[in-house]
Amino acid sequence: MAERLWSYLVTHARHLPGAGWTGIGGVPLDSIIEGELAMWVSPLDIIPAREIETITAHNDVIVRATTPSITPVPVRFGQVAAEADLRSSLRDRAEHFSARLAEFSGAAEFGLRVTAVGAGAQNLHSGEFHTGREFLESLAAREQRAGVLAAAIRAELGPLVRREREDPPEGEVVARVAHLVGATDRAAYRAAVGRLAEMHEDYRFHSSGPWPPYSFAA
């Protein structure tokens, strides 16, 4: 195997790339097996540029590896190391990866991004502030609205997700949440997002997915 390897995902030892499968740059996929785990890799002598094509190619390998019963642990773009180091990582973190594989089985990540529109877009804690008090009051008001919205999201979607990861609001985006959703809950999850959008007309709900569970892999 090449001296340095690009890693894509961690999965079960019995779950290996199909014949002829390729990764970034059309380079054939290979695998490293350590105990009960396998890591899919490509021999890459040149670290590829972070362009849309290579980013997409990395994700495509993970998507292609996903089956109804196996959702691999996605590896972040740019993980390049010697085989010995990758094997060491698999051994040292075997418990973590095994736990993630069990948690991810049959599940996928969905993203929810909520932006304020119409009346809800006013006083979004942006623009000019003439006093420090104005600034702090605007910030507090935004955080309160974000908290109310987050609670509504959690109440509606919480029963349908295995795990949730919330990111802080940013600019016009008042809520950013990643959800880990099992296959049997997807239809109900999508319907619940639709209900949230209907109940909160001052906000626009952008739902994306399914994605490999990047947000829950660490």
């Binding site: 340095r4 849309i52 996605p74 972040r76 993203g111 991004r113």
Partner: protein, 67 residues
């Protein structure tokens, strides 16, 4: 590099979501991560914050040389 879809389009939003996930999330296997600044790929090595270009690293023990 392929041209991105029009700003505001669903496809562009999907790509933004994809890029954010692939580059910023996922399991970190090693302490060495490739980052890019101003189009130049750099190597970030663990907590030592050693930053060097890929080309420079090839001349030092961080990466094997091409020759």
């Amino acid at each position: 590099m392929a041209e991105l879809p029009a700003a505001g389009s669903d496809e562009r939003l999907r790509l933004v979501e994809l890029v954010n996930r692939v580059l910023d999330r996922g399991a970190v296997i090693t302490g060495e991560v490739t980052i890019s600044v101003a189009g130049v790929d750099l190597i970030y090595v663990g907590l030592n914050l050693v930053l060097t270009s890929v080309e420079t690293a090839r001349g030092k023990p961080l990466l094997p040389s091409d020759g």
